[in-house]
Structures are given as C-alpha cells and as structure tokens.
Point group: C2
C-alpha cells in the first residue's frame, strides 16, 4: 500500500485503542465508574484559577511548572523540586516514560489484571508487552521481577500500579524495592491511588535511581477535570525525561490550581478520611449482600458475586442512572469495580444491588 | 551499557532538545520574542473559565472536546466537528501527527529556515529529517514536493509552516495544493499564524485527504497560557489520529475557554486589525532605520541589518528589558524576529534600535 493511501504507521492498524470509562456529558448519573472524587476540590483551587484567568493568558506558561514543583516537594518531603516532572495528567507522564524508554520492538511488563492503558502505550510505540498474572490473593509472583524467560534484553520497563486497579490491593515498600532490585530494567510505580493507602513508595526513589513514582491530582485532590500529574525520580532521570515533553505541557491555569491543591494538606486529610469511612461501609454492606470483596486501599472497591451475573447487575444499575465499572479480564474473570462516592450515592447503589 | 545504568533510548542521548524562547517569570520585560498576542483574550474566555471552575473539576472532562469542535466547525465553515481533533496546544497536535506517521528510521521533511521543533519531534521518534532550503525570496524550491533524492520510501511526512517563521511569508493555497499533490507523503500545513495572513488553506482539506492543517489559540486568540490547538483533516484521518492521543488530553477549563474564544469572531477581527496596523508601522520604521525587512503576514517581523550585529542588538535590547528573538540559522544566516506588540511596546523597541 502506498504511503498516501494509508499514511499511518502499521502499529496503529493493529492496536486496540484504550477505552476509558463512560463519561456521559449530560443526565443525572450517579458516577461510580471512573474513580473520581465525589467532593469538590480544595477551595483554594477555585480562587487560584480565577486569579490566574483574570491575570490574563496571553503569555506562555512556565515551561517547568516551578511553583507547583516547589510546593509538591515541600508537601511530600522530597529533597527538591528537581525530583519532579509535571505533566498534563498522569496519562501524559506515563506516555513520556514509555516514549523515553521503550522503542519499537522493545518490551514493557505489567501485572494482570491491572491498568490496560500500559498495553496501549506499548502498542502506540510499536513495542511489545508481557503480563505477569496476580495470584488469587493479589500477590505478585516472583516472575514479575525476573529477566524475560526468553533471555532477551528487550525488556525495557515494568509498570506496577500500587494500589492496583481493579483490586485496590498494595504491595509494601519493601516488596516493591525488592522487585526493583531484581528487575533487569526500571520500575514505574503508579501511585495514582496512594493517598488512600496506608503506605507509599516515595522514599524508595532516594535509594534507587531506577524507580519512578507517578502521581495524579485526579483522584485524591478531586481534580480529574484539570489534567495534572507528575513523576518523582532522581534529578538526572527527571532531566532526561524533560527532553520528551512538549515545551509548555502544563497550562497556566492548571499550574496555579495544582500549586494551590498540593498546598491544601488539611483538606486532603479530611477528604481521605471521608472516603475511607465510606469505603469501609461499602465493603461491609457488599459482603452482607453476598459479594466477595477485596479489601481496598484505594477509592474504589472490587467485588465479585459467586453466582450472579456482573454484567447484568451493571446494566440494571445503568438503567437506574447509576454507573459502575463492569470489568471483564479475558482468561481471568470479571467483576464490578465501584468507586467510593458520597454516602448517599453509595447507599443508592447498594440498595439496588441488594434487590437484584 | 546495561539497561539499568542507562535506561533511555539511544535516540535521547543524540537529540538536541528544542529550546523555546525565553519566558522570564518575573520582571518587567517587554516581551517581543515568542509571538504572544499583547492584548488580553476575548472577555468571554475569562467568564467561561470562572464558570467551569465554579462548576467543579472533580469529574473527567469530555474526551473529545465536543463543544469546542462544534463551535470551531461553525466558525471556520467546516463540514462538521468530526473534521477536528483538539489537543493540548498545537505542540501536542504536532507530536501526535509525528507519532502517528513517522516511525523509527523513517523520515520527515521541513523547509529551512523554519520551525526547528519539527526536527526535535523526529529526533524523539528515532526518525530522520531532511530540509529544503528556501531561496532568497522565501520561495520554496520544487524539490520540497518531490520524492527523496535517494529514491527510498522512508519519507513519511512533510511540514510546511504557512505563514512561515521566522520569515512571516506565505505560499498561496494553489501553491500548497500543488506541493501536496506532488509529494509522496502527507503534508501538514502549520497555520499557527494564519489568522494574520491574507489567505489560508482550510478549503484544501476537503479536496485532499493527505492535507492536515494545524491551528492554535496561542497567537490570534491571545491564549498561549491556555495550551489549546487543533488539527483539521478528513474524518477518517482524524479518527486514526485519535488513537494516539491521551484519553483526556484537554482539560475542562481549556475546553470551556477555547469554545468561548472561537465563538468570539468580532473580537478576533478587531484584534487582527490592530496587530496588522502595528505590523505595518514596524515594517516602515525598521526599513527607515536601515533594516532589510521581509513583508510579514504573521504577528512578527523578520529583519536583517546589512552591517550591524544582530546578536549585539538583541543583547543591548535585553539590557533595557526588551526581549526580541535573535535567530541564527547555521549555513544560512541570522537576524531578529520581533513580535508585534502594542504600539507603545513596539515604539520603545524601535527607538532603542534606531540609536544603536
């Protein structure tokens, strides 16, 4: 075929585009399907946005989001702002990591079931991916930290969502460090949900130059609409990643908003407290209804019913304007991933599930 | 070297990162170096941002920026919204185009001197690039539309900034169509500055499925701080590009702001009128001072002095808190690219230049 009749790279024809959860733009859905925070963002965020908008947007933004990086380094207790690269959502951060380290014909590794987007990012690069299946208790087999079984040097990057989705389970920092040390390549620890967990791996980046930790403001800071994420790693690694990003990848409004958000530590503590309390209630009630519930350290709960159809429950809930995530992992199984909403939202969902 | 001692793709070590114009975050600089609009964005933009911020940002934004695409299609007279893909600045759009069409070891083409970023995007992909030099009157030799001289099929994409930077010159739509028809690959017409020009190539996308037109709100809509750009092409091409973008690449605030901006047609006409009037004054006065001035159809003016040092003039202006862009194109020459500011800003710059 000529370049002009199909100008796209062969990898695009083969790939399966990532399909995010439904985002109805109208209607009155109770949205418990994409792990958004049900509460509004810290009040300082709105004020920062209005102030930035009124100051005018005719100039290019700060290319490296310095104000955000300074505040985040302070909030998280990092050695300095140069341990952070900010991006247009952690999606962009994950994209930058793959583009920086995984070339055509090379390979990335991920656990399964986990975040399918990593596979899509490999597909776009024309790279391969391989999966290590969690065991039935969501422990990760030792194979995840080993060289590829075919002995080739193609493995370039491993992704570990921690807490994982859909399970909400975590590996301890000790377990993560042990994996990073054994792996023949760098490890990205995707901590999108870490603010809802009992532990995180922030301290590991100081011990290991091949650990990259990604964070997002979408979940714990209630800013999914803002698109702001970042990666934490040693400064020489951050500098190299900076070559890949667009010059002005974060806009002036989101930099101002993100800076205000990460400065709102009290708000965060309160919000996480509320989410955790509701999560406990969800776990109890789902168990009472008859679900097998995986104890969660994230802002969602993964549950499977021993004999009812997950797909049908999802569809019945949708008819009642309640969206949860039906997830089917081929050769593994299916279930429902239900985001932690407000108490009222969660009660409405649980009441209907109890009647099914 | 082991993957762990240097985990980055070989192409990163070799590449020259793109260096954007200086963006001092403090101080009282008169900024005439990165072609920002000196006037604030349309008033409807601020109102739209405040309203979106107050509505809350806890939910994910519309993945395809539908409201923007509907309004832009109407404003630009396109057949429909599915002829548009929106992105986080036209930088992201250019990145998507390269990732979609140019693989490792393949090649893109650009004119010279023009926008150096295209080369960086090829470098990041591990791809090659080749340049066709403008002649001394900024006409583009026929070679730009021909197959590569080595006869290989590696050429996958050609970029044509129109108006060009640093020259501000344009090719007519007829000339562009003729190039697109001769080229063995698709043509991206980068129309970042087209609102300041007498012609544009919008109509060509309906005639040719291999023409992609990119636009930005950074220049004519005074929204460099917002990061919003888009590409216009036939719907089957747009659909394929959509596989590459991050799921939520535009945030809720920028979608609201961009929708309000492209609906502000009267504002745009007024703003462009002002810029053009100031541009005419700049061209006249720079000529009087002794510069050779290239007639511009953009919001900047390219000028070269027959015997004074451009670098020294740039440095002297900077000492007086006026930033212009000193550009040195190896094996071609150097000069000053001065953005069209307000009349007062431009007068301050011209006064100093006249004294040098």
């Amino acid at each position: 075929m000529s370049v002009k009749s199909n100008p796209f790279r062969a990898t695009l024809a083969k790939m399966h585009p990532y399909v995010p959860g439904e985002q109805p733009q109208g209607g009155k859905f109770i949205k418990l399907n994409t792990n958004e925070n049900p509460y509004p963002a810290p009040p300082a965020v709105t004020a920062a946005i209005i102030s930035a908008a009124q100051a005018g947007l005719q100039r290019y933004p700060d290319p490296t989001a310095s104000s955000f990086r300074r505040q985040a380094a302070e909030t998280l207790g990092l050695p300095g702002p140069d341990w952070i690269l900010a991006g247009n959502g952690s999606d962009e951060i994950l994209t930058i990591l793959v583009r920086a380290m995984v070339g055509e014909g090379e390979r990335l590794r991920l656990p399964y079931p986990s975040y399918i987007l990593y596979r899509t990012l490999a597909d776009i690069q024309g790279a391969d991916w391989e999966q290590t299946e969690f065991d039935k208790d969501w422990k990760l087999p030792a194979a995840f930290g080993e060289a590829s079984s075919d002995g080739e040097q193609k493995l370039r990057l491993a992704f570990l969502p921690n807490p994982n989705s859909p399970s909400g389970t975590v590996l301890t920092p000790d377990e993560v460090l042990e994996i990073a040390e054994r792996l023949p390549c760098p490890l990205v620890v995707d901590e999108a949900y870490a603010d809802f967990a009992e532990t995180n791996c922030l301290k590991l980046v100081e011990q290991n130059e091949n650990i990259f930790i990604t964070r997002t403001l979408s979940k714990s800071y209630a800013l999914a609409g803002l698109r702001f994420g970042f990666v934490i790693a040693q400064p020489h690694r951050i500098a190299e990643l900076g070559k890949i990003k667009d010059s002005y990848n974060c806009d002036a409004l989101s930099i101002a908003a993100a800076t205000a958000a990460v400065g709102s530590s009290e708000w965060l503590a309160d919000n996480v407290q509320k989410i955790k309390a509701t999560r406990r209630r969800m776990e109890q009630k789902l168990t009472e209804i008859g679900f097998k519930v995986t104890p969660s350290q994230a802002n969602f709960v993964w549950c499977q019913h021993p004999h009812k159809s997950h797909k049908e429950m999802y569809e019945q809930l949708k008819k009642s304007q309640i969206l949860v995530r039906y997830m089917d992992f081929p050769e593994w199984g299916d279930g429902l991933r239900i985001s932690v909403g407000t108490d009222d939202q969660v009660d409405a969902c649980l009441m209907l599930l109890a009647q099914m």
